[in-house]
Amino acid sequence: MKANNGWTMARGQIAWILALIVSTAIVIQLERLEIGARLGSLDSNPLAEADPAWSQALHDARGQTPDPGNAAPQDQAALLLALSLAALQDDADTALLAEEAAAVIDAIGPLAAADPLVSDAKAMARRVFGF
């Protein structure tokens, strides 16, 4: 068998593998974009009108904490608690809220993490979302 012959014979499979990788990458990218779009739509959540108590709290917490990594510990804790509260509602998108809560926890620095309020809010969020 010539050295090149193997590559020539395998061209179809190589093309198939590349097509699979490309389409998977597209699907994953779309999934991420879809999550972003859904996060955006949550800001103007129509559920806020249905249940103003928790939805408004979440909306306010997000508004006050645009950058969770650099926010004050009490704002970080408030956002985590609002997310946990929202996740307990019947029609909540828990997967989406869980991702957001995880992102907030990751963004909290070591100094703020030592704050008892933040620590309790993190514990609450972990219990609600099951991380």
């Binding site: 068998m1 395998a10 593998i17 389409s23």
Partner: protein, 622 residues
């Protein structure tokens, strides 16, 4: 191109009419294949477990359950295929024996040169075609004195064939009837010959000079019953090279561009091997990799048999049939007469009667006589007969070059194999070892594939028309489970089958589903699979009727794609972009598979590139 002409770098082996060389993978290569194959199976098992446990769409169980069952059935086939390809371990070829005593463990074996009978089985093929093979057989060399006896077995009883035999001074054997077709023809010849070894060729087989030298050495092992050599079709159309095709359309610029493209990606041919006849994957991988399990089976032409093994197995099979029939008869008579034990004399007479009724035949009288005979020999535990698949091509023959001949041949293969499964299932047969049962099981199982392939072909169409997903959701989780398996499986097959065009074989495997389904249905209904000689002359014409189901599916796939994307653009429920991409990928893959057989139905040989290769036989016989 004439066979002896030097090939240019851009030529394929089909242009040059040179056989494939054995893909001798080294230990590192084999380890890589085994590692990837194992990883692929582990991830495949994980994926299937997840599918059954978490991803069934119970709201559409009518769709979801058949698909997951099809996936499971296909995965089981993959497991069998992996076991089949696992190891290339094979018996080592030994020097050609000089004396009969060197091929036997019996002290009574004589110290004389070997007698080899060479059979050319023919029925209605052109005698001039047979002449070429006979001449080549006469040129076969052997390093020791050998008694070579060439016989034409003419079931057509044709004077022209007898004349060719007489002209070439070879023996002509015929008979009054055609009982048992090819197997009966061979049996008749066995009765009239006495050679120690029997070589079977078809009418179109042309052996190479080294055929005997390279095969008889295996028989130094007295347990080896037969050696099969690969069948190589040397008339496979090479197709039109990319540069030539573009030159025809775009002039010199097209030719230049085509050459540049081919310099980067290798030779590209339009219409190369249009019927998927190249059997390299079957012989060089599937059959050769059964040597480790002593389970490579005989495929008729190009095989060498130890006469003793054939005759002994025939005697055992014959006596076993007599025993079975007589036992059944004893039971029936006992039931009728109330006698518990029949008189010995009556029983003896009954058995003699059965012995006269049951035909004694070294080749099972069956449409797949070669496969059937292999099973009978492998089942003989007392003798422990072995088979060997020799890796190198030692003969050439011609292939069916129109879809009608191709369909006749493939229907015969599928029907014959499935008929054995139904009537004499080797999996329940005593005598075969577990690896042998697995290997034969792999062959039979592959012919059941239309049962799940049809679901794979229809599934994306259902989604594109209805928006109903066969999985609970096309989420990231789904992709995380399926992609590692698909990637590893493809990589494993690429490495394991390195040197053979896997994609092409896979497409034909899917595309021929109506034919295999028809064979399956015929066997289930108990319909007899008749023996039809595969035509050796090309029939011209279009065979769209033979591929009507594939055309229908192609059209429906296209319509479904347009319909599905239309609904997606309107934001219809269920049509998520992820699901659309998956099903489009799947649907296009299916269409490419179906396309190969539709193309074959309308294919015409190119006068400049295909015909010179396909008509090589005719040129040589002039």
């Amino acid at each position: 191109m004439p066979r002896d002409q030097t090939c240019r770098p851009s030529d394929t082996r089909f242009d040059c009419q040179t056989p494939w060389s054995h893909a001798a993978h080294g230990p590192v290569h084999i380890f890589a294949w085994q590692f990837l194959a194992t990883a692929s199976l582990i991830f495949g098992f994980w994926y299937l477990w997840w599918r059954w446990a978490y991803s069934i769409n119970w709201d559409a169980a009518w769709f979801s359950l058949p698909l997951i069952m099809a996936e499971t059935a296909a995965f089981f086939g993959l497991v069998l295929f992996t076991i089949n390809l696992w190891s290339p371990r094979s018996p080592k070829r030994q020097p050609a024996p000089a004396l009969v005593s060197e091929t036997s463990d019996s002290s009574a074996a004589p110290d004389r040169p070997l007698i080899v009978d060479v059979f050319f089985a023919t029925y209605d093929e052109n005698p001039e075609l047979v002449r070429l093979g006979l001449r080549d057989a006469q040129r076969m060399q052997y390093p020791h004195p050998i008694d070579l006896r060439i016989h034409v077995l003419d079931d057509g009883r044709r004077p022209a064939m007898a004349a060719v035999a007489a002209e070439l001074n070879v023996n002509y054997i015929t008979r009054d009837d055609n009982v048992g077709y090819k197997a009966g023809n061979l049996r008749n010849a066995m009765d009239r010959t006495v050679g120690d070894f029997v070589v079977i060729f078809d009418a179109d087989t042309r052996p190479f000079p080294t055929f005997l030298t390279d095969t008889l050495g295996y028989f130094r092992d007295p347990k080896v019953a037969w050696v099969q050599t690969p069948q190589w079709f040397w008339d496979i159309p090479p197709g039109v090279p990319l540069h030539a095709a573009w030159q025809r359309r775009l002039g010199r610029f097209g030719g230049w561009l085509g050459r540049k493209v081919e310099a980067v990606i290798g030779p590209v041919r339009f219409g190369e091997d249009p019927f998927g006849n190249d059997p390299q994957m079957f012989y060089d991988f599937i059959q050769h990799r059964r040597n480790w399990a002593n389970a490579s089976f005989c495929c008729g032409a190009g095989s060498v048999h130890r006469r003793e093994a054939l005759m002994e197995a025939a005697i055992r099979s014959w006596t076993a049939q007599i025993e079975t029939m007589s036992d059944n008869e004893d039971k029936r008579i006992s039931k009728m007469t109330g006698e518990v034990a029949l008189f010995e004399a009556v029983r003896y007479t009954a058995r003699m009667g059965r012995a006269r009724e049951i035909e004694f035949t070294p080749f099972k009288l069956h449409v797949s006589e070669d496969l059937y005979t292999s099973i009978v020999l492998h089942s003989d535990r007392d003798r422990g007969w072995k088979s060997v698949m020799h890796p190198e091509v030692l003969s050439r023959m011609i292939s069916p070059t129109d879809l009608l001949s191709w369909t006749i041949q493939r229907f015969k293969y599928a029907g014959g194999t499935l008929d054995i499964l139904r009537n004499d299932n080797p999996l329940t047969r005593r005598g075969l070892t577990v690896p042998q049962k697995l290997m034969y099981g792999t062959t039979f199982y592959s012919y059941l594939s239309p049962l799940w392939n049809i679901i794979f072909l229809i599934a994306p169409i259902i989604f594109l028309f209805s928006g109903i997903a066969p999985v609970a959701t096309y989420s990231l989780e789904f992709f995380l489970h399926i992609i590692p398996f698909l990637l590893l499986n493809e990589l494993a097959q690429m490495v394991g089958l390195w040197g053979t065009p896997v994609m092409k074989g896979r497409r034909w495997y899917i595309a021929m589903f109506p034919l295999t389904l028809a064979a399956l249905w015929a066997v289930v209904r108990g319909q007899r699979i008749s023996f039809t000689v595969t035509p050796k002359d090309r029939a011209s014409g279009r065979y769209l009727k033979l591929v009507r189901w594939q055309i229908l599916l192609l059209v429906v796939n296209l319509v479904a794609l347009i319909y599905g994307w239309g609904l997606f653009s309107q934001g219809a429920s269920g049509y998520t972009l992820g699901a659309m991409i998956v099903n489009t990928f799947w649907s296009v893959n299916n269409m490419m598979a179906l396309g190969v057989i539709v193309r074959a139905a309308i294919w015409k040989p190119d006068p400049d590139f295909d015909l010179p290769v396909m008509e090589g036989y005719q040129h040589e016989s002039k």
